[in-house]
Amino acid sequence: MTAIVAALCALAAFLLFGFATDRHHELRFGHRLTRRHAGWYRATAWAAIAACLLASIGAWGAVFGPVAWVGLIMAGASASFLLLNLVPEGPARRSNHSASKRSTNNRSGAVIPTGTPVCVPGE
């Protein structure tokens, strides 16, 4: 049971780290993240990592607990990575996101016909 709590803490921590990034927050919640909120997300994520260590020691003891903790952190990070990147966003979010993407790409609102060569710096 404690092991499951530890695993959930690791997953939660990295989901929170993911949601603290502009891209994934906007993609999932449809709005931009303020700097203050991002700070809260990160602080909670660090707290979850600490809780994961305590739960790991509770489940596996003082010798194997830290080993399990590092393993769970990697597993939590990998699972979050896959969830954030591979789970499709809902239709409402998608339209929100594409709208915001459009506005980011073309803030002037001018219509750029497709097929027109666009100069991209660095290419």
């Binding site: 092991a3 780290f17 993911g18 990034t21 891209r23 994934h24 596996w60 010798v63 194997f64 080993v67 399990a68 590092v70 393993g71 769970l72 952190i73 990697m74 597993a75 990070a77 990998s78 979050s80 990575f81 954030l84 990147n85 060569p117 290419e123």
Partner: protein, 530 residues
Amino acid sequence: MTRSFRKSQSTLHTWSGLLLGWVLFIIFVAGTAAYWRDTLNRWMRPETPRVEQPMQALQHAQHFLERKAPGAKAWFITMPTTETPGTFASWIPQPDPNAPKGKRPRRRRDTSVLIDATGTPVARDTRGGDFFYRFHFDLHYMPILWARWLVGVASMMMLVAILTGIVIHKKIFRDFFTLRRAKGQRSWLDGHNAAAVLGLPFHLMITYTGLVTLSAMLMPWAAIANYADRTKLYASIFPEAGDVIRVGHDAPLGDLSQFVRDGERRLGGPIGFIEVAEPGDAAARVIVTRASSAGLVTHGERIAYDGVTGRVTWRSPPPDGARTTYSAMIGVHAGRFGDTTLRWLYFLCGIGGTLMVASGLVLWTVKRREKLSDPTRPPFGFHVVERLNIAVIAGFPFGCAMFFWANRLLPLAMPMRGDREVAWLFMAWGLAVVLSLGLRPRHGWMKLLGGTAIALFALVAYDFVVMRPGLGQWILAGDWTLALVDGVLLVIAAALAWVAFRVRAHRNRPPRSARVRAHAVSPADEETVA
């Protein structure tokens, strides 16, 4: 950090990762499989009954040895557990004083046996999961010393690749969750970075501790400086209880399970190994060694008993700091202490490492293909890397699938059956190499990855329908460990099939130079130029 420094690290990363990358890939695959060594040992002997009572299985093994090798010089017994297929035992016969000098010693298979939980020798001769364990650092078909040097050098290059990889990864935290899909080289780089960064603590740990396991060979200077006589070195690393002189009076050997119980109590952990010197003689001695699964520190503490009276005659001295550190590092590397959850974490990290090496090798070609002036006639070096990638990344798993098939199909009575299974692996891998050279790269990837996927799907189906027990029977019997092996094989098969389909659907993008030209010259302009 200057640009030129990062550039130099980038070059080092590319070449240290590439040159022995194929060796690293097979080391990673074998090492990852070896985390399930005991499980695979059972899965590759599917008809063997489960060991429910290890002590009872040990007693059966003792009775077997008393019948089979009553007057042997020594018995060696690996303590059975509920995870193992039975009791591995071997013996050394008494030396024959009349035998001519220089005569070859008996073959190992004549003096070793696996005894199942009921006391019957297991008929299915196979290397099982032990093959992957040994192959991980001893490779095959080559002298062990050469193999270990090769593995050691590959590991050093891996360590260099990891450290330089950290230096050249500019946005390790900002790009932590970034995966840009369907963007060619960018996607490969994101995938390679994800596999590397997400499992970075494991990759660093496993490479460093892997080097530590070979440290006495790779860096012998400390031993040379401190020990003029190598036997003294070995005596201090592996303290021995001394030789046993046979007295020639028969005396019944005590019940080995009693020695094990006493050893567990005194050493504070499960016993992994039992040695019996001069069994059946009045001078018989039993030594029990603590199991490496007992703790992070894997050095085996040992206790020697008088085999007849059960009196403790010797106990290994406590290890010094250096030996404790060394064996703790080996313990972290092998993860034998781990329960099922930890073992899964190790396994998943191993998969991550395998994907990191494979994606790095493929990335080398993806990156260079973009820059080829004429993709139909790439340079020779590009050809070599591209074909070797197919031969190893797609070919070795194909060989492993055939190894499992050989385990199921070869007749049980076949002489040297275990070696034949391994030969199947290498023959199939050889065929994969030929295919990778003969087929166009896209077809090579597709056919080998698809073939491996089909072979693995078919293997699970064969077990279920023909072999019995298979997946369904294991689930019904509640043997989730073996059911999970089939489950993992199905997941691997599905993943390989998915990659094969993606390769099939893939169309090569024109090289960057062509794309730039196409951008620079619009269709209307092209007509004018023409």
